[in-house]
Point group: C2
């Protein structure tokens, strides 16, 4: 669309519709490019509007658009771990990771640039948004563990796992999205089980959580499969127990 | 010291000595405050020199000083994981983590600000330095696993653990350095063992690494202790194997 020939759609949108149309265009661009490689002209072109119109809605320019897009992406990410409290824990985590990894897959370049940091659009506000997502994800996971007052070790374990999921996501993007996403998801669930069981050895609250969670797991589920694959590897180390 | 009354030390230092004196003063300040809270005047005062002298050595001002201090800190951090290839793997990791956590302890506020991001001094150069430390640490750990050509899963596992160690360090600082550093170290070593064993269930190369590493572990060592503490927790879950 050119300013000379506005289509009816150009005029028909309400303020809120226009704002969300611009935001959607920005999010799409920021998802697949580093923030440095996205200009306001790109956003205007992608939304089929003029650059002045973008400025009218986002007077703060690219920085404001980036933060608005990030806030919208953060809301989506926070919902990833909002899974019904039904079924075995590993199954719930699998569903949550399916959504999380689909998000990473869809927002690959932007996700990488955001978490790697050092970008011109990064501020204490953008890092606070990212940290908010981490906290929300941790709260959801702790909710699935049915703990109302999680102690320091349990909270730390969950945050450590979230840190390792982030690291894995970044490397997964670097490695051309290998291994396949389903494999990565199952592996990350197993890592969670392993980290939680390890902490259970040092923390009575986590031990109770693990005992309760294991009763709901099935032999043909994630934990059963993990045990079956790991036992042959550690079976020769009888000198340790 | 005031500019009016320079002490002999002010003139006696060589260019290199003066530079490293300024760097040391800067590093000390950046270690305990967020970069936003450190001014060039602070550095000049801490080093007992005038502000113009700091500018003579670091014409790029605070940004250049910060990057130089960060580079010097990065070198120290990279050496943390450079541990002689002797003794059980968990013992080597313990020694490396002792040094790493001592660094985190000594540079608490700066470490937090750096890894949290969003600071005005953060650029693609500073994030590249941080990423270089992560890569170097991963190389050292892979070296201790005696693997010359680590596959994707093994590399990912090591980087995931490094991601979780970073997350743990940040939370440890937030929580007033609790649990005590020795306990945190042992716990992180156990988390590494758990992550590695989990990956071993899915990756033949990692399985070989685990088998070889376990033969060198002792019953009264980290792995033996982990097994003894964890078995009672998972003992009731016989329905899973």
């Amino acid at each position: 669309m050119t300013p000379q020939a506005p289509t009816p759609a150009y005029r028909r949108l309400s303020v809120e519709q226009r704002r969300s149309q611009l935001l959607k265009a920005a999010l799409e661009l920021f998802a697949h490019r580093a923030p440095e490689e996205v200009s306001l002209d790109d956003v205007a072109e992608a939304a089929g509007v003029s650059r002045p119109l973008v400025y009218r809605y986002f007077p703060g320019g690219k920085q404001q658009l980036y933060e608005a897009a990030l806030r919208s992406a953060a809301e989506e990410l926070e919902q990833c771990f909002d899974e019904p409290a039904e079924g075995p824990l590993t199954q719930r985590l699998s569903h949550a990771l399916d959504r999380y990894l689909a998000f990473v897959d869809e927002h690959d370049a932007g996700f990488s640039a955001l978490l790697r940091g050092g970008s011109v659009v990064e501020t204490s506000r953008t890092t606070a948004i990212v940290d908010g997502v981490r906290r929300a994800a941790a709260e959801h996971v702790l909710g699935h563990l049915r703990v109302t007052e999680p102690g320091a070790r349990l909270r730390m374990t969950v945050r450590m796992w979230i840190g390792s999921v982030e690291a894995a996501s970044l490397i997964w993007l670097d490695e051309g999205k290998e291994p396949p996403v389903d494999e990565l998801r199952d592996w990350l669930v197993e890592q969670f089980v392993a980290c939680l069981v390890t902490t259970a050895g040092r923390d009575p609250q986590t031990a109770d959580v693990v005992r309760a969670a294991l009763t709901a797991e099935r032999a043909d589920g994630a934990v059963g499969g993990l045990v079956q694959r790991v036992l042959p590897v550690v079976g020769d180390a009888g000198h340790l127990w």
